[in-house]
Symmetry: C2
Subunit: 247 residues, 2 copies
Amino acid sequence: MPATPAWPPQSTPRLFVEAPLHAGAAIPLDGAPAHYLLSVMRLKEGDPVKLFDGMSGEWLGIARAVRKRDLVLEVTEKLREREAVPDLWLCAAPIKKGRIDWVAEKACELGVARLVPVLTRRTVVDRVKDERLRAHMIEAAEQCGRTAVPELGETLTLDAMLARWPTGRALFFADETGGAPALDAMRARAGPAAILIGPEGGFDDAERAAIRALPQAIGISLGPRILRADTAAAATVALWMAAAGDW
Amino acid sequence: MPATPAWPPQSTPRLFVEAPLHAGAAIPLDGAPAHYLLSVMRLKEGDPVKLFDGMSGEWLGIARAVRKRDLVLEVTEKLREREAVPDLWLCAAPIKKGRIDWVAEKACELGVARLVPVLTRRTVVDRVKDERLRAHMIEAAEQCGRTAVPELGETLTLDAMLARWPTGRALFFADETGGAPALDAMRARAGPAAILIGPEGGFDDAERAAIRALPQAIGISLGPRILRADTAAAATVALWMAAAGDW
């Protein structure tokens, strides 16, 4: 028996859509997503597209009514159920453009459930561009095969975040003044968790004391080198995923 | 007793120099490093600078003969011995600019001993700019407090690399078709190691077979999501460091 060619093929474009998906739905597209499918990916009438809405898994769409700048995707069948999302939040102080965009991308790829921008005293970036962070996470989800896009939490000050911290959620924070080896600490504390990453200048003493005063806080060490904020975010999320057995 | 202020202070600039360092050496600086110290960091006569040459640890330098565009650093005393470098190589297929620069930066920050560019069949970047990669690693070493800069290995084809692979060095590679959980595999195999990361399109079947045929090769799994090459590099290096107990 000859091998059946994979359908849809591996090269099938993958697209996030805001509209809820179901069999029989017709998704009209114009603007940037249509440009991507028609001009970049050269989609033709009848070609497949993988679609996900972040909620209902991954669906097969077929290109219909293809014109120069718009088309309709006819949703035919479900390809995959929505992924199980490991219960990890990344709470990160905004850092300069480029680096924060990269943190949002990596947070999505590595599998976090939620990204929360946190304002600290040494945060030099005064405004978080929610739209841009969300766009980076959507693009990363399209690329990496996720069927869920991380939630983008409301931007909070560190004090406000600590004041309303959920009882059952561990808060791992990189403690430059000491702390347990990250992997051991993460293995010792299963369940819902969050990782808190400070800005380029780190936390100040008062902030570190406030974090430590939270019963759910666990100081971790990230080794002998001083990691930049973006590196620390990616490294700790990777360790948590591996410790949680998601990998 | 009042606390003695830290000397040199935490904000002291840190600089890599090519010349070997020793007490009493006089390091003349002009061009970009002098601009950085004088115009960006506002260094004045008598101010401290931390210096490292990648070989002999970290030294204290004092600004002398400060002029508009040049100065001399007088090396006075050794501040730290050279770090112990974990014996990990990162062998990475070149990917597009920006992303490969980022891989070089993260490899340095996370502590690798050596970065080796590897050309594979699906590598679309045809030339590796050694100078640029090395500059990114030096800048990262200056930032993250390393006293050693990762060696930049000669760019090799995958076949050439496999043909001369050292007997005692494990080669972990992300195997999209399966493999042991990364952390377990790394914990089970201590000692000299390398991580091999393919290009955006991954390895082709023949390449994967050639890698697997190497007795030192160990396929690892990086979880259910498809990681971009740069993410896979940072995540696996972080895991190896944690598994090796460097963190």
